[in-house]
């Protein structure tokens, strides 16, 4: 029992808040953070986005980092969230612990590279940004400003990166390679991502409508979400009270298509089944599902079919991407934390912008916040391009 994986700290920043308390307030009020882009310099203003409401300069100030520093927005978001998580877990000096950082990201420092790419090739004006282009450099940047972690790596499985970081972190704790691990992901908006998703014609021109019959795509967001994990025994030794527990997880591959989900939701189903099996829970013991729910025709149907196969009836389910936008690599971290905040405050968060049930499915998402609704166990789905599907089960601290 004492080998249970406890969550002892949370850190979050997204379109709906720069920290836990702001985020919780938005979540309780169903206040969406989606709107017209203010900070991303793209011609595609027809697409609303879920931006963190701070410029790079403001983020640097908040991080107490010199304005002249060569640092990407993804890294800045990561620094804020990791710091918040460490603080809650009462880890003041990172180097005093056997502690690792596993971070998920996909386009790394791309939002800078896309500004300076021609300079990289043609002149020497912005060479200092070359070194912060890749994913690993983002994580190293976070480490530089958060503490001397003794283990550090980066996972890049597109939109399930943060969830896979959690899985690897939990495995490392169980095997005794680390005492504490900070897991999650960070990703800022970039023209690269916005244009990329646009070529697939899966961006919605109105705020996304997950699980609605007339859904028409993703709203991109940005953010970071990190969790501090340690064994229950280790938390007790440090005299830190667990917020909740990781009771199961599963990673499976849809093996169907590089960008599309299979019609039968096979990968999604397998990931959920693996997570349930590890947790030892029955499907009916899951009180809430925080869906991947991107708002594309393809994902929501495929995920819905998989959920229906496993759960009869389907427990209350919502996609909080309708509030934050799709924070891509950070989504697993951000959305697990949103769900934990809901769990700790005994409510089920709403799936915004929903009107009509998807014809092929037998369930509707949560239409308005369900207050005074205790959650003992919830399941979080996080799926990525390439069929990288992962599911996590979190259980309350009782």
């Amino acid at each position: 029992m004492n080998q249970r994986i406890a969550i002892t700290g949370l850190g979050i920043i997204s379109a709906i808040g720069n920290n836990q308390s702001d985020t919780l307030r938005s979540l309780l009020e169903s206040q969406s953070g989606i709107g017209e882009m203010q900070f991303l310099d793209s011609i595609h203003h027809e697409f609303p986005v879920g931006e963190v409401k701070l410029s790079d300069a403001e983020l640097k100030k908040l991080c107490q980092i010199d304005d002249e520093s060569i640092i990407g927005r993804t890294t800045l978001l990561g620094i804020l969230a990791v710091r918040e998580a460490l603080k809650e877990a009462q880890i003041e000096q990172v180097e005093k612990h056997k502690i690792g950082l596993i971070s998920g990201t996909t386009v790394g420092g791309m939002e800078k590279s896309e500004q300076f790419y021609l300079d990289f090739l043609q002149n020497d004006l912005h060479n200092e940004y070359i070194n912060i282009h890749d994913c690993g450099a983002c994580t190293e940047g976070i480490v530089e400003h958060t503490g001397n972690f003794c283990f550090c790596t980066t996972i890049s499985t597109a939109c399930s990166s943060a969830a896979n970081a959690l899985i690897m972190g939990a495995n490392m704790l169980k095997a005794g390679y680390l005492d504490i691990v900070v897991v999650g992901g960070a990703e800022c908006l970039s023209k690269f991502h916005l244009n990329g998703f646009n070529t697939l014609m899966i961006l919605d021109k109105t705020p996304c409508k997950p699980f609605d019959q007339n859904r028409s795509g993703i709203t991109l967001g940005e953010g970071a979400g990190y969790l501090v994990l340690e064994t229950e025994e280790h938390a007790a030794k440090r005299n830190v009270k667990p917020i909740c527990f990781v009771s199961g997880y599963g990673n499976a591959c849809d093996a169907y298509h590089q960008t599309a989900s299979s019609p039968d939701g096979k990968g999604a189903l397998l990931a959920m089944q693996k997570a349930l099996k590890m947790s030892g829970l029955k499907p009916q013991e899951i009180d809430y599902i925080n869906a991947h729910g991107t708002g594309t025709q393809n994902n929501d149907l495929s995920e819905g079919i998989a959920v229906q196969q496993l759960f009869t009836p389907v427990p209350p389910i919502s996609s909080t991407k309708s509030l934050t936008g799709h924070t891509t690599s950070a989504a697993g971290g951000v959305e697990i934390i949103l769900s934990i905040l809901a769990m700790k405050n005994q409510f089920l968060p709403q799936n915004l912008n929903y009107q009509d049930k998807i014809e092929e499915l037998n369930f509707e998402p949560i239409k308005s916040n369900m207050l005074n609704h205790p959650i003992q166990h919830f399941l979080k789905n996080s799926f990525g391009f390439g069929g990288n599907n992962s599911s996590i089960i979190i259980s309350n601290n009782i």
Binding site: D124, N148, T153, G196, N388
Partner: protein, 354 residues
């Protein structure tokens, strides 16, 4: 918890080397070589091939070779490491986006730009629904993937895992890295590998795959006893950490027969290894590989495969020697790779006598 042993049972490689015995390549003026590609059509159907970039094709072929070598058709896991991901497609999309002012962009380049493309394309080809993951962390991307697979086999969560390290070095990326001092600006000489007096290294690319398994059988090359990835920004105690790692595995440095290190002719890089492995007494034999593979974020895959072959065949190809200090049977190889002395990967490989 019952701990399982982890073996390397299959290897596959697409590199700058021709098939057959290792040869020292001519590094030319630029110190930059690209892969010698296999006939992809022999491995991948034309319908799939049509859309794949080079690194994806190479990653698939090296993976298929490792599976075949290890006698497994469907792995329990596909885990890849890539420092830069699929940069050919990333560059195509990025430059079109800039040149065409965010209009008329082709979806294919975006789709294939994602770092996890290799892992997922292997899964799609094999119809493999099992664990699938991709790491991208600079010079320890492959080691991170290897560690993920190792850990899960050890814990009994997987019985085998296909590990891939894939990177391509496009001319544009080569230029970018040149600007930040990655490459040597004087012609490479073999002496650089013995005693580096200049900065920079030689640029290569490649895809290397290893099939890990909990089962020792006729395919087995070596046992992976342990892996430790160490991250330390102020790295002055690596000696101590190395000692701890060996101690944890019941060994001392004097019992290590050979060290396969990431020596690459870059003086700051090589000094770290020299301090550890040349200054003591009873030094292990020093083995090197980057003059044969070129340097790239996952070049350690090439070195790991060479190490596995040494342990299996009990024979060291002459080109791998930096200094031969011991002539006995090779029981233990310490694989040591560091990236800018801030991250170290220690991998302990041991012989398997059947």
């Amino acid at each position: 918890m019952k701990q399982h042993n982890v073996y390397i049972n299959g290897v596959g490689s697409i590199s700058i080397q021709e098939e057959g015995a290792l040869a020292l390549p001519d590094w030319g003026e630029e110190n930059y070589l690209r892969c010698i590609d296999p006939p992809f059509a022999q491995y991948i159907s034309p319908a799939l091939l049509r859309r794949m970039s080079k690194v994806v094709k190479r990653g698939i072929v090296s993976a298929l070779l490792a599976l075949k070598d290890g006698g497994i058709e469907m792995p329990d896991a596909i885990i890849s490491g890539t420092g830069l991901g699929c940069i050919e497609d990333t560059e195509k999309f990025l430059s079109a986006m800039i040149e065409q002012n965010e209009q008329f962009l082709q979806p294919t380049h975006f789709i294939q730009s994602t770092h996890n493309t290799v892992s997922s394309q292997i899964a799609i080809m094999l119809k493999c629904y099992n664990y699938n993951n991709t790491f991208s962390h600079l010079g320890i991307s492959l080691e991170s993937a290897l560690f993920d697979g190792f850990l899960q086999i050890k814990m009994g969560m997987l019985s085998n895992a296909l590990i891939n390290g894939c990177d391509e070095m496009t001319p544009d990326y080569h230029l970018m890295l040149k600007k930040v001092g990655f490459w040597k600006d004087t012609p490479f000489q073999m002496e650089d590998m013995y005693q580096a007096i200049t900065s920079g290294t030689v640029a290569g690319e490649g895809c290397n795959s290893l099939l890990l398994s909990n089962e020792k059988n006729e395919h087995t090359y070596a046992e992976i006893k342990d892996i430790q990835l160490i991250h330390h920004r102020n790295n002055n105690n690596i000696e101590e950490l190395l000692e701890d790692f060996l101690d944890k595995n019941g060994l001392t440095l004097s019992e290590i027969d050979a060290v396969m290190s990431g020596i690459n002719g870059e003086m700051k890089n090589d000094a770290v290894y020299d301090k550890l492995y040349t200054e003591g007494e009873n030094n292990p034999t020093q083995l090197i590989y980057r003059h044969l593979s070129g340097d790239f974020f996952t070049s350690s895959g090439f070195g790991l495969i060479q190490s596995a072959k040494v342990l299996k065949n009990q024979n060291i190809e002459p080109l791998l020697f930096r200094k031969e200090n011991k002539k006995n049977k090779i029981r233990h190889i310490l694989f040591h790779n560091h990236y800018k002395n801030s991250t170290h990967a220690l991998i302990l490989l041991s012989v398997c006598s059947n």
